[in-house]
């Protein structure tokens, strides 16, 4: 089935090349040593894949199987003999004879510090995976001191790169007001760890709309439309693929955001049902999240063969009529 020939021309479909399906694995194998064990992986495998193949749990934040690795969070770093710095397991390919440590002092220190740096500067209240990682690596982000006051509306969006003003007191954070400019989803960049996933999903990795990009520099770097233009004036087509890949809840369905604000969001009372999207012939798998007989959110499994978890505006948001019928 060719996506380009999808029957309804009004459905915004990806204009880029068809999603790349997992390539045929070449037969030749690479032998490496990991934590003292010898591991054999197909050529082209990453150290992360090698680790997973022998059950070593490697923490990741910016890696996602359906996106090109950007290797920016550095939580997955491992030690490779002969390499001065640590290397990112998510993108570094296994080379014959590599000797890798995934639990050394250096690895643990860097991972702990990466967590402490992120958690001391970003609101992780809707990113439960952090709690687990923090316990595992003994991270104590509070030691960097109390958080500095949050930025005012648009303050971070208008800062010029190059010369910050020295901090007055407290640990700098990315705290700022939530951006609510449309009916479908909100952007709470105080929760953004700058993993680049949304930018990739909006760009060549899935949507090819390029509504958002990384702007600014250093600690002022941020995800933005051009000149912080509201989404309604931007190129955004509300496919929600950025929401689908965001690991921290910085991008969130407006319904979920409002229910959380009202204190009515309760995952323990939600069901998740997989179904096939009825809108067009592509046939994406939808996971429908239902609370109190209302559809509160729609996701799509990443290992879904057809579009690898990416959807369009209808599949993602077009369910209000179901709720209305009730």
């Amino acid at each position: 089935m060719n996506v380009q020939n999808a029957p309804d021309p009004k459905i915004p479909v990806p204009r880029g090349p068809l999603p790349i399906l997992p390539a045929q694995r070449p037969a030749s194998m690479v032998e490496i040593t990991m934590d003292g064990k010898s591991v054999s992986v197909p050529q082209g495998s990453t150290l992360l894949e090698a680790a997973r193949s022998i059950g070593i749990d490697t923490p990741t934040l910016c890696f996602l199987q359906n996106l090109t690795p950007v290797n920016v969070c550095r939580l997955c770093v491992v030690e490779v003999e002969g390499s001065r710095a640590l290397v990112p397991a998510c993108s570094r390919q296994a080379e014959p004879g590599m000797v890798v440590q995934t639990h050394s002092e250096r690895v643990r220190l860097s991972r702990r510090l990466v967590l402490e740096m992120l958690v001391s500067s970003v609101d992780i209240s809707t990113a439960p995976q952090f709690q687990k990682y923090m316990r595992r690596f003994g991270a104590r982000p509070e030691r960097f001191g109390e958080a500095a006051p949050p930025a005012a509306t648009d303050e971070r969006d208008t800062a010029e790169p190059g010369h910050h003003h020295p901090p007055e007191a407290g640990a700098a954070t990315v705290a700022q007001p939530v951006k609510i400019d449309n009916e479908l989803y909100v952007r709470d960049y105080g929760k953004c760890i700058l993993c680049y996933k949304c930018v990739e999903a909006c760009g060549v990795d899935a949507q090819n709309t390029f509504a958002i990009a990384v702007a600014g520099r250093g600690f002022g770097a941020r995800i933005s439309t051009e000149y912080n233009t509201p989404l309604t004036d931007s190129a955004c087509v509300y496919c929600g693929n950025c929401i689908g890949v965001c690991p921290t809840g910085a991008l969130m369905f407006r319904r979920e955001y409002e229910m959380r604000q009202a204190g009515t969001w309760d995952e323990s009372r939600q069901t998740r049902t997989d179904t096939i999207c009825p809108y067009c012939g592509v046939g994406c798998t939808l996971t429908v999240h239902v609370q109190e007989e209302r559809i509160v959110k729609v996701t799509s499994p990443l290992d879904q063969e057809i579009t690898q978890g990416h959807l369009c505006i209808k599949g993602r948001f077009g369910w209000e009529w179901v709720n209305q019928k009730k």
């Binding site: 901090p167 700098a172 990009a213 702007a215 250093g218 233009t229 190129a235």
Partner: protein, 599 residues
Amino acid sequence: MDLHFTGATPAAEEKAAVDGVPLAAIGVRRRYLLPFLHAIQDRVGWISPGALNYVSRVLDVPPAEAFGVADFYGLFSTQQQPPAVAHVCDDIACKAKGADRLRAELQKAQGPEGSSKDGKSTWRRTPCLGLCERAPAALVRVAGERHSEQALAPASASDIRAALQGTQFTPPTLRASVPQMGQAGLTLLRRVGQVNPESLAEYRASGGSLALRRAFEMGPAAVVREMIESKLAGRGGAAFPCGQKWNSMLSAALPRYLICNADESEPGTFKDRVLMEGDPYALIESMIIAGFATGCEQGYLYIRGEYPLARRRLEHAIRECRTQFFLGNNILGSGTRFDIELHVGAGAYICGEETALMNSIEGKRGEPRNKPPLPTQVGLFGKPTIIQNVETLLNVLPIVTEGGKAFAAIGTEPSTGTKLFCLSGHVEKPGVYEVPFGATLRQLLDLAGGIAGSGKLQAVLIGGAAGAFLGPQDLDTPMTFEGTRAAGAALGSAVIMPFDDTVALREILIRIASFFRDESCGQCVPCRIGTVRQEEILQRLAAGKPLLSHATELVMLNEVGQAMRDASICGLGQTASSAIESALARFPVFPGEPSEANR
């Protein structure tokens, strides 16, 4: 691409500025993004939404991406600002020479940083402008149809104000930057100040083009052999053996590209500026030889945006060389084809990192790439690319004319040839000095007339902000790759910046920390946030207000440093703590706590 635009439209002068940029018929169009943004910034003083839409449309780049690029670079303003802007250096060499006083005077006369009384002019702080030998320095840019840029050094508040009003000053001669000028025995500095830098004929009359002819006779393989034999190591900071790099290009796929790294933004470094201002044709000749030897037909010269004079000289030289068969399709009748495209940076230290520089030429944010693959495999526009520093390239001329063996006989066994050093801060005669490798720190300081200021040396910064501090007890350290390494430092970009005993080292350290915070590209967590935490810890220690105790702050500082060194993507994060750690290990920097050295 199917792009969506906001309703903002460009003004006529913004359109005219973009349309006035000459375009080459071939190659990746997006590489015009920075040139277009420069044209708009130069014409109206900022990048407006309408102008950005126009550029995005012409280049078929999504506006959000183009904005992300414009907003990355310090010399592009995405907020409206007055057309005349003075960028006043508050970095470390200028600090030692009264930059804080200069700023206070400006503040009194012009109002606070970023403010404007008349809507026509303003001023702001900037990191090192590469004019440290004439500190304190400022760069004044006035946008308009006849836009002007001039470096003022030494700068006074009254000169800066006059320049903001349009007064043009005559730049001082290079003698102020090269105290050895005209002396016998110089190699790299031989022509600087002695031969007209704006005449190819005079360059050739002074021996220019001999090396190029020799290289054409020898052939590429022989040139690479001489390079290997010379044991020349890169002068840009990483000291990688050049011959090895050139050799690895020979088996690479075509096309291949050559880049000259003239981004020179390491605080305290100005040697490449002096070479480009003083001997631009020699750089072109070196690039042709490098291109010839490694099979590159296209060269790119990436010069930092804060070097207006060097850029004008190079623009002139490249134009002239093209008309005189010194660049183009048939250089000196040899049949060799080589041309140079000049790219101008826009205020981002990180763009000196080789892969960030490639992204910048490609019209992208200056974010370093992950290695491997190395640039010699996948470089500029995805093609095999060789990148060398300006000073490195200039060494190619004596290597070709005298031979690799003769070159290797100069200096020490591992550090061959002569070396340029950038002396600034508290020395009597600051400037660029050329000596054969092997001179000690003491000898170099003596060459520059000894310690200025109070005359009593407190500390010397070696290698720039990414380098390390040495103390009076280290004066006999040979300033070679191996000598500095043995002393726990690194030669880096050959900065030697002494501070007298009146300087508050903690302020210098905080300025260095703040530099890295500002210049981090922001891509990876250890550097983006680590540089912030590092600065905060230093601020607290300097204020005598540690969170728990002095000792716990030092533990945190140390751990942040280690994570940056170990887990950052590129050299910026990996070295962002090195100068600070070296100072804390050697000197009592903060009140109330003995340093390790005194314990």
